[in-house]
């Protein structure tokens, strides 16, 4: 469909979602453009691997395109997309996706070597956590989800989520002490 020059760029997301639901490819491309930083960052924190994170993010958007007609209320789109991203990650973990080998490409990928220090160190610290703890920590800190929301999204019992968050937080505080100590001294 053809629109005036910057119509899609200026449209609110609910309009784009409505258009995408009716099969509008350009509207969906605009949604991908707007939401990709969020989903790619989330996936990066979940798996700590830039290549795999982008592959999983693509899977999320492809799944969103295939299912967007089933989304009845356009205002629910962000939560719906987030749940889809979390499910994509959890499914990947469960079936140990063939894309898992993509992490071996890290060493040869110059874009990853150029990642600023904090992101790299954060991913390295997250990498020391067991999978479930890492998922809970990412959803809690990166997505600012509550314990109950994390329990609902991951299917883990609430008590387990709380314990994972406590354990993960302590571990991250130790691993990232260089980054958080100056602020700690100031408080």
């Amino acid at each position: 469909m053809r629109y005036p020059a910057d119509f899609l760029q200026k449209s609110p997301e609910s309009v784009l979602v409505g258009l995408a639901r009716s099969g509008d490819r350009d509207a969906f491309a605009e949604i991908v453009s707007r939401r990709q930083d969020w989903i790619r960052n989330l996936m990066r924190r979940c798996c700590g691997d830039a290549v795999l994170a982008d592959d999983l993010s693509q899977q999320v958007f492809l799944q969103a395109w295939r299912s967007i007609r089933q989304l009845n209320d356009a205002r629910r789109f962000p939560g719906w997309l987030k749940r889809m991203a979390i499910n994509t990650w959890l499914q990947h973990k469960r079936r140990n996706d063939p894309l898992h080998g993509a992490s071996e490409q890290d060493a040869a990928n110059p874009a990853i070597e150029a990642t600023p220090g904090l992101g790299l160190d954060l991913d390295r610290a997250l990498g020391t956590l067991p999978d479930d703890v890492r998922t809970c920590i990412v959803l809690g800190y990166h997505e600012r989800m509550t314990h109950a929301e994390i329990a609902d999204a991951t299917g883990l019992p609430l008590g387990t989520v709380k314990s994972h968050i406590r354990r993960g937080t302590k571990k991250l505080q130790a691993e990232l002490a260089d980054y958080i100590q100056p602020e700690e001294a100031g408080t």
């Binding site: 491309a29 990709q36 930083d37 992101g119 954060l122 968050i165 991250l172 980054y179």
Partner: protein, 115 residues
């Protein structure tokens, strides 16, 4: 937000968010969507061609089957003696109504699971 969350770590997570090359990623996603659309069109075209060929070869048996189905749809599910009651309940007391209810049930179930 619970006190289990350390605000300093929250700040680190926020700081570590980065902006990506949006154009290349969007292009990749849309290319995969377009490829998927093309595959769907090809699959439907093949299915339609096969259906037409099958219908041409099996025209007579298919027509017979359709006639049998057409005759089956209005058959009452529960036998009712009273004529006027039978007429009144005909829209819901038939194989067609049973199939419609099943289809609606499956649709509702599907939407609840995947919607």
């Amino acid at each position: 937000m619970s006190s289990d969350f350390d605000p300093r770590l929250q700040a680190l997570f926020a700081e570590a968010r980065k902006a990506f090359d949006r154009e290349a990623f969007t292009r990749d996603v849309m290319a995969q969507i377009d490829a998927g659309r093309r595959r769907t069109v090809v699959v439907w075209a093949v299915a339609a061609t096969v259906t037409v060929v099958v219908l041409i070869f099996l025209a007579a048996p298919v027509l017979t089957a359709l006639r049998l189905v057409t005759e089956l749809l209005p058959v009452s599910v529960v036998e009712i003696q009273s004529d006027w009651m039978k007429q009144l309940l005909a829209p819901v007391n038939s194989v067609a109504a049973l199939i419609a209810v099943l289809a609606l049930g499956i649709r509702k179930f599907y939407r609840r699971i995947f919607g």
